[in-house]
Symmetry: C2
Subunit: 319 residues, 2 copies
Amino acid sequence: MFILKEIKLKKEIKIFSPATVANVSCGFDVLGFCLDTIGDEMVIKKSNTKGIRITKIEGYSHKIPYETEKNVAGVSALALINDFKPDYGFEIEIYKHIKPGSGIGSSSASAAGSVYAINELIGKPYNTTQLTNFAMKGEAIASGTEHADNIAPAIFGGFTLVKSCSPLKILQIPCPPDLYATIMHPKIEVKTSESRAILPKKIDLKHAVTQWANLGSLIHAMHVNNYDLIKESLEDVVIEPYRKKLIPNFDLVKTKSMNIGALGCGISGSGPSIYALSKGKQKAKEVAIAMREIYSKTNIEFDIYNSSINMNGIKIINN
Amino acid sequence: MFILKEIKLKKEIKIFSPATVANVSCGFDVLGFCLDTIGDEMVIKKSNTKGIRITKIEGYSHKIPYETEKNVAGVSALALINDFKPDYGFEIEIYKHIKPGSGIGSSSASAAGSVYAINELIGKPYNTTQLTNFAMKGEAIASGTEHADNIAPAIFGGFTLVKSCSPLKILQIPCPPDLYATIMHPKIEVKTSESRAILPKKIDLKHAVTQWANLGSLIHAMHVNNYDLIKESLEDVVIEPYRKKLIPNFDLVKTKSMNIGALGCGISGSGPSIYALSKGKQKAKEVAIAMREIYSKTNIEFDIYNSSINMNGIKIINN
């Protein structure tokens, strides 16, 4: 039986590891959701040589190190094999379509992708929470702290709430079927460290109360498919006032998106990307057109994506 | 038809206006739930004389003023009739079973009770949100600020989340069927103003994140009937560390209640009452016994209540 199982397991796997939006206005550091139309591809191969090797990095490969211990996909993979202790190793190819520093979970996609793929190749001994834990080790070398608000939606799919990091507890939050995201990625550099440093250590209690009322309300709204309440809840009175200064035209993009009828618009992760959520594909497209119009008048390069909510997270792809 | 309706409307009504638990650990200033076994009774009578008169106060009547403009039930009733402008008035009798300053919504019961009853007597022109708005005017003269975290559960029943006060938006949060409360009321005086003053104006961002993760998690847990997750979510890292100092034996009561198997235990409102939530009536009773044992060894007088969650809020009673 053991031999049969071994034979059945693939020796190579290709995956799509999606971009994700963390924070989502009222859910700083805890909430995130998964995108469908933008993500990295990775190929992971079993190898007779023990250990983890990064063998190829294409696409946005600039400044991404090949040394396993310095590469987020490498570090998370090491965390997994240090636990599983296989008598073989893995080679990782990364086709990076998510620009590092874009604010849509580029490092998380790499960190989560490698452990997801290896787990598949070794017969799925680990559950999604355990994989998130391994991936957080990789994420830590990119952002300085172990956090899961991008990794969790990449691995679990849909909307996730990181209830706690220690012990790690991820909740899958249901979402209405007709929710679509628009992402505006202005190609400027906003370092996560800078974006963290700009935040105050202490916040007004009354602002905190507003924020948790909004998050509680959003979770409720998602459960009861109440789009109006989702719209009323997607407010950020704590983080956005600080971070929006780092993003050119943020207020204009937000005002325009909301005027068109978006349910919410805010900073994706620590920026510079801006996310909007809309009811219906058509509305999300209209929001994208408005965002494009605004940024076309600047000399800033940008990418815009429309995406449904990816309910499955990372997926295996053929070839 | 108008005359027929007038005849059908009652001229007098007797109601039970329940005690409530606000804050509920992770939901400071926004969350609350309604009790079943403790509450005031009020009789409201239509009168040919315009205006509002408090005609009787029994029970915990000490220091409760008869002057309408100084009485919470009076002030909320005035807010309603100033809007409705009837060409008649109302007399209010208050049978106060909830001790003022106990931390289980004594003033809210009075403020909510009068407007609920008057609304019944005039043919229910106002909805629950409008009644909450009127009642908040009464609550304000007792606590200094207009807030709804006790009034909302009294009027709506069950668990409520005050999404925002301006405009007022109350959400009814579902709860699992087998949830029971235990209330320990140590008869010491903790003034709401003192209990407010002890709180910091600013809190650590990281504590705020923990708190909103817990509240988000609790709302999710209530929707999916997950008792374990309710237990994990009922934590207060922001307010309890300050306010528990005002409540003798708080830590001991909490530790003992949790060891017995309560899902959560914390400060009710601004104290001094302590609430616990348990799965099942029997567990709630065991928690009550443990609380009694602890306070019996002190020289502090106390009351203990067990109650299911009152899903209907204020109710009309016969006689």
